[in-house]
């Protein structure tokens, strides 16, 4: 769908009007933060801060991307909040340095998880928040208004919110990442950093103005 020049002009004037009325609430241009995952950093310059990113696809690929984020947290000295809707995080498989950088919030219901994320966004202390909804059958119970609220909340901050899910659920995600399988059983002996380097991702971005950019399907 294309936006006509007339509609685009009206949209610009509306945006200018809103920014004039609420100067403190104007949306800052999204920044990128590299996390040491070549497939992501080279393709799009890193994860978008002040935006919601949805990661779907293979669960092994998603786990390896999370490993890249936590390793980046260790390297750069920031903290990550993981809101785990299915209580599936397994600390024994993660290095202590990465665990020390992570707040783990366990929920049994995606709606509780969404509320927990809301608390953490409003707190504003953690620059990266990860909402893990993978494998949750009840993910459809999360009202669409929650995602819109998250968009509004994070765009006023420097927080990068990642939603991990088995299928696309986040309406209007600024960035969608489809992770491909990270390996087979033999990969259990591979160093995780190598798995990060070999990770194959497809990245789809929603531009600042191009609201109707089509989202490509995964191969």
């Amino acid at each position: 769908m294309k936006i006509s020049a007339e509609k685009s002009g009206r949209l610009d004037s509306l945006r200018a009007l809103v920014e004039g009325k609420f100067p403190n609430r104007s949306v800052r241009p999204g920044r990128r933060r590299r996390i040491g995952c070549r497939a992501l950093d080279d393709e799009s310059g890193g994860l978008r801060t002040g935006a919601v990113t949805e990661v779907t696809g293979s669960s092994s690929g998603v786990q390896v991307l999370l490993a890249a984020l936590l390793e980046s947290a260790v390297r750069e000295g920031f903290h990550v909040g993981l809101v785990d809707a299915s209580r599936s995080f397994h600390p024994a498989d993660w290095p202590t340095n990465q665990l020390n950088r992570m707040l783990w919030v366990m929920c049994n219901d995606p709606r509780l998880a969404v509320q927990a994320v809301d608390f953490l966004i409003r707190d504003g202390n953690l620059p990266f928040l990860v909402l893990d909804l993978q494998g949750m059958q009840e993910v459809g119970k999360v009202p669409a208004s929650s995602w819109h609220r998250f968009h509004r909340l994070v765009e006023q901050s420097e927080i990068a919110l990642l939603v991990l899910s088995s299928r696309p659920v986040v309406e209007g995600a600024a960035m969608r990442i489809v992770a491909h399988r990270a390996g087979h059983l033999a990969a259990r002996l591979s160093e995780r950093q190598k798995l990060v380097e070999q990770l194959d991702l497809q990245i789809f971005e929603r531009g600042a103005v191009e609201f109707a950019e089509p989202i490509r399907k995964t191969a």
Partner: protein, 482 residues
């Protein structure tokens, strides 16, 4: 100079604290036949006196409010008095409950002793506490001056002050007082004018002690206390409390007083200890560690508010106590490349809210436990303060996503090796299996456990971790789910 700080009718003042009550009141001691110990001026005006039984007091006036003595509230008030005295001098004596002496000889002379006394009185007035302050050249004269004054007394000339005191102020025995009355002695000045040796001979050693006190020449050493002040407040309810509002109301008032004391001493709260005696005789207690020690009233109050708002108790509280563990205010040096949390106390509060919302054991910093037992971990309340990197072997493989609880499945085996998983939704032929990984532990006690684990890949592409205990198979988690 020595300062004496005296809280008159201390036991009644402690019992009346935090109660906005101005009518006639009396305090009784349950351990002394329930007789009235102290009364306020309004009760005295109704002819209610110490030593009455509560029934006698009520017979004089039904509106007399009879309160039971509260040792916890007396302790809290006494700590506050000591704290105020320590703000004058480090050399302080706990003379009696509700009375403190401070040695001011080492501190610079204030521009006005009356001004200093008024400042001290003003610091008690927000809590509607009446305090008597006296300055005198000797400790004993300071005590006599405090007892004799309505509010503030400054003794510049010891002999003139002592000379004008009535003999009754010396609190001599009844026999000695009667003897002096027979002699026509009504003031201390008249007593001091008598030959000292003869007076002691007639009245005994008691007189020697009193004469030494009022002479203004003896400066007895103070029994100094260690300046280790407790920051605590307590309140005993007359009835069980049904809701959190009165608790929060009192806690806020406690914190106003305690944070004021902390700020005066340039100290900060490191821990809050909340205690509540319950109506079944048990005691509820909870300790809160302050992530970034502070004396900020709002920060401390929010911690308690968040906790109490989510607290559900089977029993009802009959009292409340708040104790602060204070420490020195220290700065912390951040690492050059460390991105610290912006608002540590705000983050602590968010964690408290999450814990109240999801449960205590659902939020924390995960920590591995030194055990081979599968799925054992601990949760720490806050990020480790030491940001140093721990040396360990690089992580390998795809991290497992664990099922909690594990899913029971039917597994086909051939020569003990899994060849197929036959339970929906996880089913398929095993194309690769790695194992068995046999684990056991705690064999020395009744918690002994033993399990056998396999990592398998199914023809569907799913990668699972299976475990077998006896003949039962479970899927512990997945590496890849299809």
């Amino acid at each position: 100079m020595f300062a004496c700080l005296l809280l008159p009718q201390f036991r009644l003042a402690a019992a009346l604290r935090w109660r906005d009550f101005t009518g006639p009141a009396a305090v009784v001691d349950n351990h002394a036949k329930g007789l009235i110990l102290e009364v306020n001026e309004a009760a005295l005006a109704k002819n209610v006196h110490p030593g009455f039984s509560p029934a006698q007091a009520m017979a004089r006036d039904m509106r007399v409010h009879i309160l039971t003595r509260s040792p916890a509230q007396e302790d809290a008030l006494h700590y506050m008095l000591i704290d105020r005295a320590l703000s004058l001098s480090p050399d302080v004596e706990e003379t009696a409950p509700g009375m403190c002496l401070a040695d001011l000889r080492k501190r610079p002379k204030p521009p006005s002793w009356h001004g200093l006394a008024d400042e001290i009185v003003a610091r008690f007035s927000p809590e509607k506490l009446r305090v008597k302050v006296a300055f005198a050249p000797t400790p004993d004269l300071a005590i006599l001056a405090a007892k004799g004054t309505a509010s503030v007394a400054v003794v510049y000339d010891a002999s003139a002050f002592a000379g004008a005191l009535p003999v009754g102020a010396l609190e001599l025995s009844a026999q000695a007082t009667e003897t002096l009355r027979d002699w026509g002695i009504t003031t201390v000045g008249q007593l001091l004018a008598l030959p000292r040796a003869e007076v002691i001979e007639r009245l005994g050693s008691e007189a020697a002690l009193v004469l030494q006190k009022v002479s203004g020449r003896s400066k007895r050493p103070l029994r100094l206390i260690r300046p280790d002040v407790k920051y605590a407040e307590a309140f005993d309810f007359e009835h069980e409390v049904e809701s959190t509002e009165p608790l929060l109301f009192l806690l806020r008032r406690f914190l106003v007083s305690l944070t004021d004391r902390l700020q005066s001493a340039h100290r900060v709260a490191r821990q809050l200890r909340l205690g509540m005696p319950l109506d079944d005789g048990t005691h509820y207690e909870r300790t809160f560690t302050i992530p970034a020690p502070t004396s900020d009233l709002e920060v401390l109050y929010r911690i308690l508010d968040t906790h109490l708002s989510a607290l559900r108790l089977e029993q009802r509280p009959v009292g409340i106590k708040l104790e602060i563990e204070a420490g020195e205010q220290t700065g912390s040096q951040l690492g050059l490349f460390e991105t610290a949390l912006r608002d540590l106390n705000g983050f602590g509060e968010t964690l408290a809210r999450l814990k109240a919302f999801l449960g205590e054991d659902s939020v924390g910093i995960p920590r591995k436990i030194d055990s081979y037992r599968p799925d054992t971990f601990a949760l720490d309340p806050m990020f480790p303060s030491d940001g140093s990197v721990i040396r360990e072997d690089p992580a390998c493989g795809i991290p497992l996503r664990r099922y909690r609880p594990a899913i029971f499945v039917h597994v086909e085996t051939k020569a003990g090796i899994p060849v197929g998983v036959r339970s929906s939704p996880l089913q398929g032929a095993v194309v690769e299996a790695v194992g068995p990984f046999r684990l056991s532990g705690d064999w020395w006690d009744d918690q002994a456990w033993r399990t056998e684990e396999w990592d398998v890949e199914l023809d569907s592409g799913a990668m699972l971790r299976l475990s077998r205990v006896g003949v039962e198979w479970k899927v512990e988690g997945t590496y890849e789910l299809r």
